[in-house]
């Protein structure tokens, strides 16, 4: 799966995750992987392939379909010095284990000075794949509200690889989200020592007219919208936050100071969503620089339908993103 020794690796998203796990398990014997289907089956999406053969059943553990026990066991492992990566197949299922993540993992460090709870909960977002209402939600905003949790949602093979490594090396709990569709996309991936730091945004397209802040599944279509707008003479700067908590205020504010406009694009439901928080912060910090209200684009407050075509009506698409950006630049 690796490219030739002289060039950069070009991998699919799932392979990038697989490479990161292999490298981190190799690098640090405290790293363990647990979850449904991760060991013998090699992961529902292939991300844990060959880990069991390489690292054995002590460090690569299948679990029952017991989300509370999976995340709770990961917390217990972290408390005795391990660095677990717990797989919860879809973030929709994390509700079953929210107590363990929210009330245990996130809070324990506050109960003992110097105690760290290093763990990663890795979970997929299944938008636009025909999986239905309980496998299609962008729930990063729920967890972003919890003090003590970091939330990352990379969207390229390079960032899947580099950010997962950073999450595993972090000293606190990290919710690591993956867009399921993006696991099948191909792209360059860094080497074993290339770590993408948590909290650092990727300015993935420069522009002078509007700052578009986004993450996760929305990155690709935001870039497509920016490409279309460039043909009309509107230059959109696209910033992929990559990490929602902590988010890269500095990069966003600096950009808005130059562009004077800001649009936040999320897959999450717009009302009471994470985009509102980013927009409010930009509004407060950059008020004097703004030439237009800070705008949000997100999903409407509806239950996700089950077919791909219908789900595309729910989640922001490139043309809707371009329309909103265009309005703001008028």
């Amino acid at each position: 799966m690796s490219a030739d020794a002289t060039g950069p690796r070009v991998l699919k998203g799932w392979q990038a995750v697989n490479a990161a796990l292999h490298e981190e398990l190799e690098r640090d014997e405290r790293v363990v992987v647990l979850g449904e289907d991760v060991a013998r089956a090699g992961g529902t999406y292939g991300e844990t392939r060959r880990l069991l053969d390489r690292f054995g059943p002590g460090r690569v553990r299948d679990t029952p379909i017991s989300e509370q026990a999976i995340v709770g066991a990961a917390v217990g492992m972290a408390l005795v010095g391990l660095r677990p990566v717990a797989e919860i197949l879809f973030v929709d299922f994390l509700g079953l284990a929210s107590d363990q993540l929210v009330n245990q993992a996130a809070k324990l460090p506050a109960f003992a000075p110097g105690l760290s709870v290093p763990l990663v909960v890795k979970s997929a977002v299944g938008t636009e794949l025909g999986l239905g209402a309980q496998h299609s939600q962008a729930l990063e905003g729920w967890y972003a509200q919890v003090p003590g949790l970091a939330v990352a949602w990379p969207s390229t093979p390079r960032d899947l690889h580099g950010l997962l490594k950073a999450a595993i090396r972090a000293d606190g709990p990290v919710l690591f989200l993956e867009s399921l569709a993006l696991l099948r996309e191909t792209g360059p991936v860094g080497g074993p020592d290339d770590v993408v730091e948590l909290g650092v945004a990727d300015v993935c397209r420069p522009g002078r007219d509007l700052t578009l802040v986004t993450w996760g599944t929305m990155r690709g279509r935001s870039l497509a919208a920016a490409g279309a707008l460039a043909e009309e003479g509107i230059e959109v700067e696209v910033i992929d936050l990559r990490t929602i908590v902590p988010w890269d205020r500095e990069a966003v504010f600096a950009s808005v100071e130059r562009t004077h406009r800001c649009l936040v694009v999320t897959e999450a439901v717009r009302e009471f969503g994470p985009g509102g928080e980013i927009a409010a912060e930009v509004g407060e910090a950059c008020f004097d620089a703004l030439d237009a209200p800070v705008a949000r684009l997100g999903s409407p407050r509806v239950v996700a339908p089950h077919t791909v075509a219908l789900d595309r009506l729910r989640v922001p698409q490139a043309d809707a993103i371009a329309d909103r950006a265009r309005e703001l630049c008028r």
Partner: protein, 310 residues
């Protein structure tokens, strides 16, 4: 139980009981400002019978009613009391309270405000110790109320399939918060273990020696790599769900049964404790010092919480 173990059992029972009684008195005296406390008077034999087997590497997950577990496990008494009463020098600087006592140095990985939530942590901790080659085992206390949570069932099953070195102790005090266990629990907790293919045993939780014997076998199984054991220790909660609970739900006769269920005279009837008076005096002296010191301490004035990522 050897004479030395019986003496140690008495000392720990008295430390738990007298700490608890003094804490309840301090609450009545207005010393517990702006927070709550749970008392375990009557239940001490479960904590002590288990803790007598504790080796330095063993770790404990406890409950909302877990101060006596912490005492038996060896948490510094002053740090524990300071945490309960929100004073400086507590295990979390007095900021977290008795439901959030975490003291890794003594192997206490947490009391817990969420009923049943400690068991999944205990499975992971036990498996994690084993993976790292530690001789330590995990111990988790839970109540008969917690026995009906999904977390407890998920944890029992995961512990069974992983053969985790774990001792699961149901401290069955007859209540799920303020509701009689008979109204909330089908079958017995010990019998549920069989459903997961692991041993379960019903134990007289007011008899410290019976708990000690059953726990000894469970620790031995865990240390020998034979997996988890469930002990259902039937005990007696003398007080209410919380200190100050008016217990409208409870029949007066039931609330007055401590003399017949009390583990301390029961131990003394069976074992003549050499230098019993000396043990009692040592406990009182230690608690005099701790209570005088801690209750005179200031309360933390700022949210000087440890920095956490995110």
């Amino acid at each position: 139980m050897t004479p030395a173990q019986a003496t140690r059992a008495l000392e720990l029972l008295l430390l738990c009981r007298r700490f608890d009684e003094r804490a309840c008195a301090a609450v009545a005296d207005g010393k517990l400002e702006g927070t709550v406390l749970h008392s375990a008077i009557g239940q001490e034999a479960v904590a002590v019978g288990v803790a007598l087997h504790r080796a330095p590497e063993d770790v404990l997950l406890s409950t909302h009613r877990g101060v006596h577990h912490c005492i038996a496990w060896g948490v510094d008494l002053a740090a524990l009391l300071a945490e309960c009463f929100g004073r400086v020098g507590g295990t979390a600087g007095g900021l977290a309270g008795h439901m959030h006592v975490v003291d890794p140095a003594s192997g206490v990985l947490g009391t817990n405000g969420i009923v049943g939530a400690g068991l999944p942590l205990a499975v992971g901790a036990a498996a994690g110790l084993e993976l790292q080659g530690s001789p330590g085992v995990g111990v988790a206390f839970f109540g008969d109320g917690a026995a009906n949570t999904g977390a407890v069932h998920e944890a029992m099953n995961l512990a069974a399939v992983w053969r985790a070195p774990l001792v699961l102790v149901c401290e069955a005090n007859g209540f799920a918060e303020t509701t009689d266990t008979a109204a909330t629990t089908g079958g017995s907790v010990a019998a549920r273990a069989a459903g997961y293919g692991i041993p379960g045993e019903l134990v007289d939780g007011s008899d410290v020696e019976a708990v000690f014997e059953a726990a000894g076998a469970a620790f031995a199984r865990a240390r020998a790599g034979e997996g988890p054991t469930v002990l259902e220790c039937r005990t007696y909660r003398s007080g209410g769900h919380w200190v100050g609970d008016p217990q409208h739900y409870r029949d007066a006769a039931d609330a007055a049964r401590l003399p017949e269920r009390d583990p301390i005279p029961r131990l003394l009837r069976r074992h003549a404790i050499d230098r019993e008076l000396e043990v009692r005096q040592r406990v009182e002296r230690r608690l005099n010092e701790v209570f005088a010191d801690v209750l005179a301490r200031p309360r933390p004035g700022s949210l000087d919480l440890p920095a956490v990522p995110g």
